[in-house]
Amino acid sequence: MTRTHRDWHRTIWIILAIVVGAGFVLALALRPAPAATASPVFQERLQ
């Protein structure tokens, strides 16, 4: 990895880690109670 790549790698990686980590925690905290029926992955699709 060249110096430029390494610098980019470090910067991008940290920003992405923070954004994705925060997004994951927020999504976890805000997830609603599920409806009781239908398959878990697709229950909202046909609504």
Partner: protein, 344 residues
């Protein structure tokens, strides 16, 4: 390039790597479907497709986690370098598994005669302003696009065409692809399940990938920090501190890394970047008198950094000297292919 170069780059090690990879993927998907269908038998054809979607989706996510962990793992322990070998095939297979996941989703909508509802979901522009309720499938499509881009440019033809520098920069998009996948799952499947399995899987993957990158980065920084000698030269250490047929890596203050190799009494310094794919040459060995890249076996002569004939790749070399019992290296690079070895 390696003296053992073959036009068709298949060899026994690659076949074994691919066989193990395909075996593990098949075993994971087969076991997942068998166990899940036993615990929660699907009620109809749609249920079976749903099961396949989850099996392939989870498999692709875990594969992506492994791919991102291989780099730092190989830096933390050279014994894990074989994992790095042929990593591109790992990436292509991950794309194919993710593509199958997307294909099964389309099949599910077709089976329910609900394809228009998928289009409506993707074009409901008001949802794009929401966090919970964001059209998560768009994130999955974005990740699939990144994986496709990387898989389709993974061949050495594209590496040569784009140059290693551009190719490597392009392939860093994998990090963005990983981010899209995490949010695709977090805003999709995780929102529809109160179970702990999905959050645990996502959280563990994020922690693992982050921890490995941070650990490898810090260790590398500590390990390669070189002391400054007179006239801006860098102290590498006594000749015997450089492993025979191996290298010590030092970091110049500009940030570029220099690999100082020792072959018996002969010592030479070259850039740490392989001309093939910018692999870490200093983590390689001297084999048959040539510096050999640990990633794909590209070789260069120690004395001048030139690939053995008939190959033409050349590496930047560096001046060396022995001063007060220490090997010192001048961080100002010499033109590629300049003879610059010394004898200890």
């Amino acid at each position: 390039m390696s003296v053992g170069f073959q036009a068709v780059q298949w060899n026994r090690a690659k076949f074994i790597y691919d066989a193990i990879l395909i075996g593990c993927v098949t075993a994971f998907i087969g076991t997942f479907i068998a166990v899940e269908s036993w615990l929660h038998p699907p009620k109809d054809a749609g249920g079976w497709i749903d099961l396949r979607i989850r099996a392939f989706g989870i498999c692709a996510f875990l594969m992506l986690t492994v791919i991102l962990s291989i780099g730092p793992l190989a830096r933390l322990s050279p014994r894990l370098l074989p994992l790095l070998y042929n990593r591109r095939h790992f990436g292509v297979l991950t794309f194919l598994i993710a593509l199958a996941h997307a294909g099964f989703m389309i099949e599910w909508y077709l089976g329910q005669n609900a394809l228009p509802s998928l289009a409506a979901e993707l074009t409901k522009w008001s949802d794009y302003g929401k966090f919970i309720g964001f059209p998560f499938k768009v994130l999955g499509l974005a990740a699939l696009l990144v994986l496709f881009l990387l898989a389709s440019t993974s061949h050495d033809f594209w590496l040569a065409f784009l140059t290693p520098r551009t190719w490597k920069a392009l392939h860093m998009a994998l990090y963005a692809g990983y981010g899209f996948v995490v949010m695709h799952v977090a805003l999709g499947a995780m929102q529809n399940s109160r179970g702990a399995a999905i959050p645990v899987m996502l959280g563990a993957s994020l922690v693992l990938v982050s921890a490995l990158h941070l650990t490898a980065g810090r260790r590398e920084q500590r390990k390669h920090a070189a002391k400054l000698a007179s006239e801006g030269w860098l102290i590498v250490g006594p000749p015997q501190s450089i492993p025979d047929k191996g290298a010590a890596i030092v970091s110049a203050h500009s940030g570029e890394r220099i690999a100082v190799f020792r072959d018996g009494r002969q010592i030479g310094a070259v850039t740490n970047l392989c001309a093939h794919q910018n692999g870490p040459l200093g983590e390689g060995r001297i084999i048959d008198g040539c510096i050999t890249c640990p990633w794909h076996g590209y070789q260069y002569k120690l004395e001048d950094g030139c690939a053995p004939a008939p190959f033409t790749e050349k590496l930047v070399t560096y001046k060396l000297r022995i001063n007060r019992g220490n090997v010192e290296v001048d961080p100002r690079p010499l033109p590629a292919g300049t003879r610059a070895t010394i004898s200890s």
